[in-house]
Symmetry: C2
Subunit: 229 residues, 2 copies
């Protein structure tokens, strides 16, 4: 079919953890793709053309031939079916379950509290929201401790190799680390940095992911610019 | 392998939408299983034996031979790999993506607001929390309207046949309907019931799911008792 021969096109914005998951999966599977970097501040997510692709006006959107795909986890599941090597949802039924278990637990217990930490810090409201940030950090620490423990048994979160669980959690963990490194966040004493002291196995896992060939292509360009400035 | 010949055992509690998803999937796939009905009020979720199965102390837990599986979506993915007929995550890559898209959208946009409606009603705090319930209902209506629209194109939410998307959303929709039928909720005028007036296609979809052979076995026993009382 023509559709499976066309290169996928990924619509993304810099720093979106949701889009980052998909970029990492494309690198892991070594799938060549066309990159469409959008800018939210320029209204790129609200154009008629983009809203036709995703009425919710959000990235990532992956187009592949006739197909238009939204929601990062759905795109990961699609990529694993279209480009099966290496598998990112496990090879056996039990591995598939472990990948979805880790992702489900992340969504139910960690993603929300992480947002309550990261969002106010990026919005310049760290001092104002300090109390809720500290409350959310208690949940974050409790979940990170579980992940740290599981990494004592295996180098990856769900299976023997890198999986969609690692690719789903990494951008959010990385985004939390970046937020925690802002001066206003450092003042709060979140107990997260340096990660290698607080969570040494998680720090090693972060480094392992950053060794994926092609990882550099997925790194948020505006983070790099901020570092260079 | 012995493990795939053993009957799966499902640990569940009456009325848990998460456990109900798995029970429906077992019926759709006609997988015989051993039912372990637990009672939260008797402390069944806090026993050492149960916490060994799931340290989070939550249902559903499915054991299958040597495997212990937690998190309802992970269990659905597992069942689809172990018992592939009929497929509940689609036959083709694009269908798989549609199933996970609907589930992801439900988790991101509908599940939270539904909880803000259902939880206070069941807790006898409908009047006290009326303002937040009404605010949450605006999101619920906006998402139900999207589902209603999609059901205009097909009888099921994600693929040509019943899928994990239908099985995931149904128990939550049904639980919302039950909460909305309580006298304290009726007083709030949530605009949901009768469902066949507010959302006729969604009402037809509910009926369609309730025609699954074996559906009666999945119906929460304490709901039935409440009706009989």
């Amino acid at each position: 079919m023509a559709r499976s021969k066309a290169k996928p096109e990924l619509h993304w914005i810099s720093g979106s953890p949701y889009a980052w998951r998909v970029m990492l999966a494309l690198e892991v599977k070594q799938v060549p793709y066309v990159s469409r970097l959008l800018e939210s501040s320029k209204g790129d997510l609200k154009t008629q053309d983009f809203l036709r692709l995703n009425p919710r006006g959000q990235v990532p959107v992956l187009t592949h031939g006739d197909y238009v795909l939204t929601e990062s986890l759905a795109i990961l599941a699609y990529l694993d079916r279209q480009f099966p090597t290496p598998p990112i949802f496990g090879e056996y039924a039990y591995e598939t379950a472990q990948v979805w278990r880790v992702i489900s637990e992340f969504l139910s217990y960690l993603n929300g509290p992480m947002g309550r930490v990261v969002t106010p810090i990026y919005a310049g409201k760290a001092a104002e929201k300090a109390e809720d940030i500290q409350a959310a950090m208690r949940s974050v620490h409790s979940e990170l401790a579980r992940l740290e423990q599981s990494l004592g048994l295996a180098p990856w979160l769900a299976t023997d190799g890198i999986s969609a669980a690692d690719l789903t959690l990494y951008p959010s963990v990385r985004s939390l680390m970046r937020a925690a490194s802002k001066p206003a966040a450092l003042a709060l004493g979140l107990g997260l940095l340096p990660l290698r002291s607080a969570y040494p196995r998680l720090a090693a896992w972060v480094q392992e992911i950053e060794r994926i060939p092609g990882y550099e292509r997925t790194y948020p360009p505006h983070w790099r610019e901020a570092q260079a400035a």
